[in-house]
Symmetry: C2
Subunit: 264 residues, 2 copies
């Protein structure tokens, strides 16, 4: 695309569109570096202000990221993962052709606080097994997983190499605990210092937190997890059907307008 200074379309927007088209066409690949400000000024024959405005807009659209002191890069696409069935990380990565791996941070026996106790339906203070792992896809850290298991099952699980064997597979195939379903709770939070360090992101970086409680065939909660996903690395998709609207538009009343007092 040629930049046209006579056009009614602002110059920065023409440049923004041109760069966006190059990115969409793959001429600058994900992870690739954009030309420098100087180069763009030369190429388009415009002012620095105009180039900066175009770059800012591309950043706002999340097409690029500015790494301070390093340059401007095309964003890697987020991993897109279906949220339609209870699956573990290894299964999820296999489904999209990425190589999963795990780093075990440690295993502990802890006394269940209020939330863990509620999720596993145990009295507060009951001992449970806690496992912390960083999960990676093609060697990039994607999530920090905290797993809480009831004691007898948990003690058996942690005898295995948890950098290799998925906990779901161990539960289902080795310890005769097939899973039926799970409750998911999904929210956006800021990375606290520990999460930030483990996932190699800035403190307060956006994290997609999934809390998941998995149930065995007899509806007993057997695995409670907190999965801290890097917000810049992952996106979940699902398809939901419409059910009949619970009310009719005719039932919606505009707020009463305060009528002028009757003057009669």
């Amino acid at each position: 695309m040629d930049i046209n200074p006579q056009s009614a379309v602002p110059l920065y927007f023409q440049i923004e569109q041109d760069l966006a088209a190059s990115i969409a066409a793959g001429e600058i690949a994900p992870g690739g570096r954009l030309p420098s400000e100087e180069e763009l000024i030369q190429k388009y024959n415009v002012s620095r202000t105009t180039v900066r405005k175009a770059i800012q807009e591309l950043e706002r659209l999340e097409l690029i990221e500015i790494r301070r002191g390093k340059g401007t890069y095309v964003r890697e696409a987020k991993i897109t993962q279906e949220l339609t069935a209870l699956t573990g990380f290894v299964e999820d990565m296999a489904a999209i052709g990425m190589q999963p791996s795990a780093k075990l941070l440690g295993t502990w026996t802890i006394s269940a606080g209020e939330e863990i106790a509620r999720q596993l339906r145990l009295p507060i203070g009951t001992e449970v097994v806690q496992i912390k792992r960083v999960r990676m896809a093609d060697n990039v850290s994607i999530s920090l997983d905290e797993t809480y298991l009831p004691l007898p099952l948990g003690l058996k699980i942690i005898e295995n190499d948890l950098e290799i064997y998925p906990i779901f597979s161990l539960l289902e195939e080795k310890y005769d605990t097939p899973l039926l379903e799970a409750d998911y709770r999904i929210e956006a939070i800021s990375a606290d210092p520990f999460v930030a360090k483990m996932l190699e992101v800035d403190e307060k970086a956006p994290i997609l937190l999934i809390e998941r409680t998995s149930y065995s065939l007899d509806q007993k909660p057997v695995d409670y997890e907190k999965l801290f996903y890097r917000g810049d690395k992952i996106r979940f998709t699902t398809r939901l059907s419409r059910r009949a609207a619970p009310f009719s538009i005719d039932s919606i009343k505009p707020p009463a307008i305060i009528a002028p007092k009757d003057n009669l």
Copy 2:
């Protein structure tokens, strides 16, 4: 609970547990103010360092929030909303007994960029209608909604009072466009300056972004939305069933260990 300085349990943890119990029991209500540092030092007869450590832990657990210069408050519980069917904001709030309202920021006719064009299956550059609203529950801002509609339908929709009538209801009941289903894409991002201002949160605050493309009965995309939810205000829940694991544990091979060269 009495604080026991002789206990093996660290003092800060005893205080943390005591305050957490008060919060759980509702003795300090959501939105309520915790006693000041001075008051806690007096109450528990411990050092300032100990009180501060307890407070920090409660903040890390997201039970409280420290508002600089104002004090420490019990966090309001997040709104918990089901993510199991295609529903609009007004339906969602009605389902949990909250009063929905909306502030219309404006409506525009814009030329569809790459993403909007793809979602609505239109050529890039096609004119579409853009609607921006802030959605509120019980008068608190919950989400910023950007809606994109194909032109003819969109021009009809914006003739209505969009602070009162839900777009889904208008589509389905007034414009003969019943919805069948929608694709959801869910991710965590940081608030950009515009989103932060509209939702009254700090820049870079965590945002749960839902992009949603709704389809009419003939599978045509009729409504593409970007819903920027305040991360501190909402949580989505769903229940997913297990389907058979796609591989057996026996197929997982530990990484090959590099064998020492045969010395023969």
